[in-house]
Amino acid sequence: MSKREIVRTQEVWKTYFMGSEEVHALRGISVSVEAGEYISIMGPSGSGKSTFFNMVGGLDKPTSGEVYIDEVDISQLGIYELAWLRCRKIGYIFQTFNLIQVMNALENVSLPMVFAGLGADESRDKAAALLARVGLGDRLTHRPIEMSGGQQQRVAIARALANDPAIILADEPTGNLDLKTGREIIDLLTEMKEERNVTIITATHDHKMLAASDRVIWFTDGQVTRIQNREDLDIRVGTIGGAEEA
């Protein structure tokens, strides 16, 4: 049974112009992700992983090449369609949580549903159920400022799932969290993946993420230097077997 390719990039280049100089953030990236996979994108700062991540998330367009999300070329989409894509097909999680500070947990999680046109009652009920699922059923009326980092990230995960997206894009989700909380978040993401069959794509420095990933894509200098499957990952304390090879 062949699985659906939820994300596919074809010879994607991204070039920035710093004054008169050309900087190639991405050099011909061709990668595909199957539905239901947990992919980690790893690489040092400046390797292009964030740029690639933004492409895949419909947050930026390539200079050349195509990005297909569910077989739709996103460079052909207008602003309304892109907004629809971000609202319905993709859920976002950020290192800095990015919750709306003046809204409480319930309101934050309901917001994407409001954008999707759901009624107020329906979105509140669904938001409450999602928050209960991530373990925050008793904090529905709390504001971000009253929550710890881990709790805020849980709200963010609930929010990302609000419109039943096909893909969850997580940019350094554990970056601002301590070891224990980071592990909890990774476990929660894995549970969500299993339960709902969402594809999870993370950009990360966190090696804890490796054990949870189905595949790891390594970036260096704008190119993919290595793709490892879970079986190939040799995770010992302090080293990732073979990852240092060019």
Partner: protein
């Protein structure tokens, strides 16, 4: 004008987040313009009140406080109040238009990259 510009730039990350959740540019623009109407209205009301009181005081100083009757008060209020209020609110909204539209059009990735 500076206040409105700063209000928008401080909220770049929030705008980026909203766009990630699916907000359209027009939504963001409406949101911030509405906010600027409120800010303008409150600020102008306070300003108008202050101006009105100052004018009364000035009249009292130049003529004599005892001569200020109810009629004078009402006339001063009518002369200073509405123009100050309307003018102040309109200026605030106008000042907000440019940064708001610019911010709403930003690509989410750029909006969130800004370190403020």
């Amino acid at each position: 004008m500076n206040t409105m510009y700063m209000s928008v730039t401080e909220r770049y990350r929030e705008i980026g987040t909203l766009k990630c959740l699916g907000a359209l540019d027009s939504f963001v623009v409406r949101l911030f313009l509405l906010e600027s109407v409120f800010i303008g209205a409150v600020g102008s009301a306070l300003g108008a009140l202050g101006g009105f009181l100052l004018t009364l005081f000035q009249i009292g100083v130049t003529l004599e406080f005892g001569l200020i009757g109810a009629g004078q008060v009402m006339r001063t209020l009518a002369q200073t109040g509405p123009p100050a209020f309307a003018g102040g609110t309109a200026l605030t909204v106008l000042a907000a238009i440019y940064p708001t539209i610019a911010a709403a059009r930003m690509k989410p990735v750029d909006a969130m990259r800004v370190e403020v």
